[in-house]
Structures are given as C-alpha cells and as structure tokens.
C-alpha cells in the first residue's frame, strides 16, 4: 500500500493522526505553519484528565478521558507525572454534589474514592483547611510540547515526514476531489504543491478556516481560556473543585510550579488572544480559595489559548455547555471528496481522535487495517530531532 495522506497541523491531534497513519502503513506528510504545538496544544493546562471533570455533565467525554488516560500511562510512561488528583468541596453547595459526583464517576468507569478531609490535608498541607470533602481520582500531568513530539518522533521513525514552518495557502482540486495542498515554506517563501490521496484537517480552532479554504463548513467554535502559572508548587496532586466545570476551578502542578485555570469565552480569531484583565483577577481570587497565598511564590506567566469545541445549536456563548468530545467530518457529505476534518476533543483524547480519523481515512480508501496505537509504546520526544 502506498497511499499518501497529508495532515494539516502538528498539535496533539495532528501528531497522533500522523502516528496512527504511519503505524497502519500509510505514507504521511505533516504540515504545520509554526513550531510543533505552537497553537492550542502547547498552551494546554497540562492535565491528564481522569474524566472526573466531565463525569456529571458530559459523560461521553468523561469515558473517553479515563480510557485514554489508562492508555497513555502505557504508551508514554516516561513523560507523565502520575500523582493523582483531588476533587475538593469548598462550601456546602460543592458538598451537595458529592454523591452525584461519586455516582457519575462510577457510571463512567472512573476509579474515584472519597478520602477523609484530615487525610486530604496531610496529602496536601497547603490546601484550604476548611474544605468539607475530598475525592481522589487518577488525574495526572503531562508536558504538552513533549507529548506532541513523542507522537511525531514515533511517526517519523515509521517513515512520516514532518514539515514545520510550512503553511497551507490553498487546496488543490481535481473536479470536486481534494488531491493535495499548496504550501508556503515560511523560511524560504517558496510555494509548492504536496499531493495526497487524502488530506486530514487537524488544525484545532483553525480547522474552520482551513475547511473554508476547501469550500466546506466545519462548526468549530474557538473558545478561549486563561491560565496563570505561579513560581511555587503548592500542590503535589491536581486539585479540582467538586462542582460543575466552571472558571478557576483547577490547579495543575508541574515541576516547581502550579497553574490555575481556566476561563471560557468565544473568540473570532485564535491567532492572537488579548488577555482580559478581569479574568486574571478572577482566577487569582479563585486560586486563593483553594490554596491561601497561592501567588506568594510570584506569578510566572499568564497565557490564553482557544479550545476547538464542536458547535451545537442553541449553546451559551461562553462554551461551557459544549461537549469536550470530538467529531470526525468526512466532507464527502458536503460534496468534497478526499478531505477529512478531525476536531473537538481534549489533548488527553488525542490518540482516540486519531484512531477515529484514520478509521474514516481507511474506510474512504476501502482498506481494513487495524489500529495499533493502544499498544505500541511511543519513542522519546528527543527522537524527533
């Protein structure tokens, strides 16, 4: 088999798609306009989701998260901090969700267990001493840049070509079939055509713009969020608020730092997202409720990025109601052959997104090749270089 697939985007989705394609024997070229993970993936909150965050409101996404969490522990064990997470109740209203949360976790297959408050405070001595309940879940922490590089390194080892600083400027058609992309090498300014049997759009919040270049509509809703990193690691475990997902309700530790996030609002252009000052104040206030004195170690960085949520009709403008699950669009239904978009999802579910997208690619080409990404361990991210 010598089918060639062009993947647009080297964030977590594109990286995982390239890996899956290469393992199934495809020839693969990834084109990325900037550095690997320079868009949404890089500015991720670094949370390896247990699914607990979505268990009550978005069980489909929660199930995907716990399943993929367990797979990632197998395939990239050398690049994960596995120190679990706590959901803590800060007030009576949080506490009223406890039974429902535990039941929802059980329903979704997330191993969650309540631990005594005293034990939680021994595990996390900087936590607000007035917490009313704590539930332990298998959250974890990854490092987004190296997460993407691991998938790409393995894809390259299996023959894939990865072209960074290479921007798609147009699609090449034969009739109504996409047969390649026109790209510009941003280092030389030169343009050329890369032919492909299938083109996969994995451009995250930019996938709407990419699809528009091919004349099709993808209902992606770029939904931004702010995160703040501080210069001291107060918590060893991931600390979540036991409630419906909301603003400023997670503190993810990493190295000697910790990151509070997030907020949620729709943006038109994900290329540059100005950071609303009131979001910064809100996050710091919320962090203070979890860990009094959170900013005493100094603020290290403030950043914002757009999630690629899949749009649904009649959804509130802040995007909190949108599912974190993913969708694969075969644009044959829009009258364009040879073109597939995979979007939505979480970084935690990137492998599953890739599996779905490559299943669609195989079906379009009339191939039956099993997916092997659940079992095959990834190479070190350094093998990318």
């Amino acid at each position: 088999m010598s089918y060639h697939v062009v993947v647009i985007g080297a964030g977590s989705t594109g990286a995982a798609v390239a890996h899956d394609l290469a393992l199934r024997g495809f020839r693969v070229t990834v084109v990325e306009r900037g550095e690997v993970a320079s868009g949404t993936s890089g500015r991720n909150h670094c949370l390896l989701h247990s699914g607990g965050r979505y268990a009550m409101r978005d069980p489909e996404s929660a199930r995907e998260c716990i399943e993929e969490n367990m797979i990632l522990r197998r395939i990239m064990p050398e690049a994960l901090e596995l120190n679990d997470g706590l959901f803590v109740a800060l007030d009576e209203q949080d506490l009223s969700f406890k039974e429902r949360f535990l039941a929802a976790c059980e329903e979704c297959g997330i191993p969650a267990r309540e631990i005594p408050v005293k034990q939680a405070l021994a595990l996390e001595p900087h936590l607000n001493p007035h917490i009313l309940a704590a539930v332990q879940v298998p959250d974890g922490v990854f490092e987004p840049f190296r997460f993407c590089l691991s998938f790409l390194a393995t894809a390259k080892h299996n023959g894939a070509t990865v072209l960074t600083y290479t921007e798609v400027v147009d699609f090449v058609f034969q009739g109504r079939t996409v047969v390649g992309v026109r790209v510009r090498d941003r280092r030389t300014g030169e343009e050329r055509v890369i032919g492909g049997d299938i083109v996969v759009n994995a451009a995250g919040p930019w996938s709407g713009k990419i699809a528009a270049m091919a004349g099709v509509d993808v209902p992606v809703v770029p939904t931004a969020g702010v995160m703040i990193s501080v210069g001291r690691r107060w918590n060893r475990m991931v600390i979540n608020r036991l409630n419906m997902p909301g603003d400023g309700d997670i503190i993810v530790p990493q190295r000697r730092t910790a990151i509070i996030g997030t907020t949620s609002w729709r943006v038109e252009d994900p290329d540059f997202i100005p950071i609303p000052e009131d979001h910064v104040r809100l996050l710091l206030d919320r962090a203070e409720r979890f860990i009094p004195g959170y900013t005493r170690g100094g603020i290290r960085g403030v950043f914002a990025v757009a999630r690629p949520l899949v749009g649904r009709r009649g959804v509130a403008a802040d995007g909190r109601e949108l599912s974190r699950t993913f969708e694969c669009f075969d644009h044959a239904v829009d009258g364009v052959e040879g073109f597939v978009t995979i979007t939505g999802g979480k970084m935690t579910t990137a492998r599953a997104m890739a599996e779905k997208a490559v299943d669609v690619v195989c079906a379009k080409l009339g191939l039956e090749i099993p997916c092997r990404t659940r079992e095959v361990p990834l190479l070190s991210y350094r093998a990318f270089f």
């Binding site: 120190n83 679990d84 840049f145 190295r255 990151i259 950071i275 960085g301 950043f303 270089f385």
Partner: protein, 239 residues
Amino acid sequence: MPTWQLRLLRGRPGSSPRLETYRVELPAEAYLIDAVEKIWAEQDRSLLFRHACHHASCGACGVRVNGRERLMCITPLREFSPDGVIQVEPLRHFPWLGDLLVDVSPMMRRMAEVGFAIIRRDELTADRPLPEGIEQITRFEDCIECGLCLSACPVMAADEAYLGPATLAAIERMLAEPRGGDTARLLTLADDPHGAWRCHSAMECTAVCPSNVDPASAIGRLRRRLIVEKLRRWIGGGR
C-alpha cells in the same frame, strides 16, 4: 494602553541579518512572547520564532533580550520602559534558521546521548504521605532544555565540541538518580577535554537558567565525583 518598541533581528541564512523596529500596543501585564506573537499576527506573517507553552515549561521560546538570554514567555513587558527599545535576537551557538529561530537539534541529540530521563523522584513534597495507589512520587525534571545556558556559555563560543552546561548538568542528575542509566558510560562521557574539565566556571549558565537547574554547581559536583572515581581507581591498583 502603552506602546512598546521591539527591535527584532530579521533575515535568513545566506544574507546578512538586520534589526527591524516594530511598535506594538499591549498592557504592561503582558509578556514579551505576547508582543512577538502580536507582531506576527498583525504586522508581519513572515516572522519566524519558536514557542509552545507560554509558561516556561516547554523551553521553546529562548532568545536574547537586550543581550541577555531569556524565555520570552516569562519576560514581563513591565520590566521595560515604553520609551526604550527591547532588542530581541536569536540564541547563540545553535545553527541559525532565520529571524529568531534556531535549530536546537544538536542540543537534543546530546541530551539523548546522555539518556536524560525527564521524570524524577520528587524531593519537593517527599515529606507528605503517599496518595493511596501511588507507588512513588515523581515530577518532571527542572531542566526544560531551552538552551539558554548554551547560548550564554563563553566556552561554547570557543569550543564547538564542548558538551555544554545543560548536558553536563543532565549527566550529574543521572549519576545522582540513574533510573537505569549506565553510570560508567556517563562518567566516561563527562571525563573528557570537551566535557566537565572544559568549564571555566564563568557561571553564566546558572545566571540565565530560568528553571532552577544551576548547571555551574552541577558541573562542580560532577568534577568532584570524577576526581573521587580517579582516586578510587589509583588506590585500587588501576582496576
């Protein structure tokens, strides 16, 4: 909102680089990476720069700011005056690919040769009990492989074959916590004219490190270890 003046090194290999000035409006709470990204988004799409995480975890956005190695993502604009100029140039001692972009693969290959593991025993919270079901407490290593220390190191300028501060600090960490690494091989790698003995103790690496690695002290520990190993061999009759 203040307007900031950035002078960026521009150009491509094969032609001589030039400095170009850009003006960009941003609040004082923003960071240098925001200013550079905004210039790319709104003024010049041909600008090449590396970035990913925007919170000093990935190590991609290292540059020289007014002559000093910094990560753009944790360099706040409020450090500068809107009347002054913020000059941004690529890191030194790496192959230059254009504008602010360098090729970090030589450093990554050296780190790969060391087999530097990025997950380590967590000493920061070691005094706390273990969560149930967790066998050992781990965290990411401090080193984010940003290359600032290599750019700042005066020895790197003189000796291309020098292993460099990041690599030597990584060897020292692997000797302290081998995680399956071959310590004899690592000692041989460090005990080389282009290894631990080449360092002049200029301390520039430690001065610019954004991630608490302190390579200069690590190199000092590594040298002491090498001396102890040599003495042990002499006393032990050359075995």
